[in-house]
């Protein structure tokens, strides 16, 4: 790397651990290390600490009771626990409905379940990433065991109307369970599951300044699941394994801080995101907004730079210390570009050159100004290498006239 300065605009990938959160975690490593299941006070008092943490996470979800909260090791584990957990309780139904734009941690599980004999219906989205609700409603049948929909999309930030979807589902089939992957919504918008028809909701700590390796799952008290990990009685028999005390403490602390910062997210973070978005779209003629949905989390923008390839853009940004993500095929080595942008019908011209910028409450005005200054230089340089000069010229003229 040629630049020691880091402008971190990839907060949908992971976030830095908040210093205060880390501080609160530290005593539980080598000082208060007792097993929470012990009878003696040295261990047992850690179960009180966990209980306190559970209360905080309950408030974060807006749940009724802390008994509805299960600690897991990741967003993926939360999703796997929820989905496999309810399916193995209700064996009489073998139909699942989900969306085409779910995160791979959920999508690949459904691909696996298809091999195991489940029928899965994948619901599409429109060009700005909004879900086709009618298609979803029509797909619900007697046989539908589960409807699974993300709260906010990781690539575009589009928010799905999960409360309304849950209501729709229950109005057609009361037996159908609803799982919401809220990994990208947590810490960005207010969660409030209490008075909804949502049965389960999963989150991951490292997306809102808790460490990696800790997640949580909300399970409505009336919803039964069978455990994914069988063994001890921890987590009310729903997830075996000695509790990861320091990380649970960290998750709760981060959740509380994130809740307190929600107003900042929807004002300052949103303002900075909008500033970046508006500036890039106006300064760079081959920039195209890929995530124009009305309802979006405040920190995310997805911009396609037409006729330029995403990995090359990221590598050039890296030289300036700017970190972001791309939906291009090349960045992952999978050869297949983003399934989300493809489902939205984003044209190939912009698909391979799509860049996702995701901010956090630590993003500063100076960082955004620096990015706004550097991006046009980067894209201009790379555009010169493109074999599509004729198309680029046409684009330039068209934009010029408009």
């Amino acid at each position: 790397m040629t630049n020691s300065k880091i402008i971190y605009l990839d907060n949908n990938a992971t976030t830095k651990v908040d210093e205060d959160v880390l501080e609160e975690m530290l005593p539980y490593f080598s000082k208060n290390y007792g097993n929470p299941s012990s009878i003696y006070e040295f261990g047992g008092r850690n179960s009180l600490a966990i209980q306190e943490a559970r209360e905080k996470v309950k408030d974060f979800f807006g749940a009724k009771s802390s008994k509805e909260i299960l600690f897991t090791a990741s967003g993926s584990e939360s999703a796997n626990t929820a989905i496999r957990g309810v399916l193995s309780i209700d064996r009489s139904r073998n139909h699942i409905i989900t969306t085409k734009v779910e995160h791979p941690c959920v999508l690949n599980l459904y691909k696996q379940l298809e091999k195991e004999g489940y029928d899965v219906t994948y619901i599409g989205v429109n060009s700005v990433g909004e879900l086709n609700k009618d298609e979803l409603f029509d797909a619900i049948t007697e046989k539908t065991a589960l409807v699974s929909c993300m709260y906010a999309n990781n690539e575009t930030g589009t928010i799905f109307p999960v409360e309304e979807i849950a209501q729709m589902v229950k109005s057609k089939n009361k037996q159908t369970k609803v799982f919401v992957d809220a990994v990208q919504a947590a810490g960005k918008i207010k969660l409030d599951v209490q008075n909804t028809d949502i049965d389960m909701m999963g989150i991951s700590g490292h997306k809102f300044h808790a460490p990696k390796g800790i997640g949580a799952l909300y399970i409505k008290s009336s919803t039964l699941i069978s455990p994914l990990i069988v063994g001890g009685h921890q987590e009310n028999g729903r997830r075996a394994g000695t509790e990861n005390v320091p990380f649970i403490i960290g998750l709760a602390s981060a959740a509380q801080k994130a809740n307190d910062a929600l107003n900042y997210e929807s004002t300052t973070v949103k303002r900075l995101r909008d500033k970046l978005e508006t500036a890039l779209l106006s300064k760079i003629y081959n920039a195209r907004l890929n995530s124009a949905a009305q309802n979006r989390v405040p920190n995310t923008t997805n911009i396609g730079f037409e006729y330029v390839e995403g990995e090359l853009i990221l590598l050039s940004m890296n030289d300036y210390g700017i970190c972001a993500s791309s939906g291009s095929a090349c960045t992952s080595g999978s050869l297949d570009p983003s399934h989300v942008l493809k489902a939205m019908g984003i044209p190939f011209t912009a698909l391979h050159g799509s860049i996702r910028f995701s901010l956090s409450r630590y993003t500063t005005e100076e960082e955004i100004d620096y990015t706004i200054e550097k991006m046009p230089i980067i894209i201009e340089k790379l555009t010169k290498i493109s074999p599509f000069q004729k198309e680029l010229n046409e684009l330039k003229q068209r934009k010029g006239i408009i």
Binding site: E309, L335, P337, F348, H352, I385, S386, F388
Partner: protein, 271 residues
């Protein structure tokens, strides 16, 4: 993050010979926008057949730009017939190596060079005729795959995907790629008669790899019950059991697949 060599980083950060040549004597193209990378190569050739100038324009990742950039350096000053001998392996070597998943970038460079030289001699490129397309996602023909497998000594489907992209998107052509690999690498030489245990293992492998997955898509499956010389006894399970088309599945799909991979003379018996 990719583990790129300093040479690769240098060439994508400061690409040499970017641009087009107005009065080029040869132009070659490879790749396409929809596939995610594309290269246009321009050559200026003097009356003695020496390449005096080369320029490129690339839509693609870091290694695609680096491969294109170094290729222009490699061809300038060479006789066009000398340049024709450059292989994708030489492009990779000149860059000090590429990550396995990025080998196809060097292949694209080589393809564009081939196309440019063919253009210089007014030859028709014969690859990519419709009847032998193996990978429809990336429009890759059988002859092209065979050539790359032989040139680069590729052994597995993963190798083939890394070098050519074939099989890298939907993955439906992987069976066909395996067949081509088997043909070329002679993976199934005529052996002596298998023992019963060897036979069972072999049949089970074929079932796992090619048959079960397909049946599971329809909610069924298949179980190997017994092997008696060339008679293979199987049981269809799950939904296949009750399906009135199960006999068709058995002869058209199960038997055909097993015959293809095991032996022409086997007989399938449903129990």
């Amino acid at each position: 993050m990719w583990n790129y060599t300093d040479k690769v980083i240098d060439h994508y950060t400061n690409p040499r010979n970017v641009g087009s040549i107005e009065d080029a004597d040869a132009i070659g193209e490879a790749g396409s926008l929809s596939c995610g990378d594309m290269l246009k190569l321009y050559l200026k050739v003097d009356k003695n057949g020496i390449i005096t100038d080369a320029k490129f324009q690339t839509f693609g990742c870091g290694s695609a730009v680096a491969s294109s950039s170094i290729l222009t350096e490699m061809v300038i000053g060479k006789h066009i017939d000398e340049a024709r001998k450059i292989t994708n392996k030489q492009i990779v070597d000149a860059l000090g190596g590429l990550p396995p998943e990025k080998m196809h970038c060097s292949v694209m460079g080589h393809e564009a060079l081939e196309a440019a030289i063919a253009n210089y001699y007014n030859e028709e490129l014969t690859i990519n005729t419709n009847e032998d397309i193996i990978c429809h996602c990336f429009d890759i023909s059988k002859s092209f795959l065979e050539n790359e497998i032989k040139t680069n000594n590729l052994k597995t489907i993963e190798d083939v995907t890394n070098y050519t992209k074939a099989g890298g998107a939907c993955g439906r052509c992987k069976g066909k790629i395996q067949n081509i690999l088997d043909e070329i690498n002679n993976a199934a030489p005529k052996e002596e008669k298998l023992t019963k245990t060897q036979m069972i293992i072999k049949i089970n492998n074929v079932i796992e790899k090619y048959i079960s997955n397909e049946l599971r898509k329809d909610g069924g499956d298949i179980e190997l019950i017994d092997v008696d010389d060339n008679k293979i006894k199987v049981k269809l399970t799950g939904r296949c059991q009750a399906c009135n088309r199960s006999q068709l599945t058995l002869t058209h799909f199960v038997e055909a697949t097993l015959k293809e991979h095991i032996d022409e003379n086997i007989e399938i018996i449903q129990v």
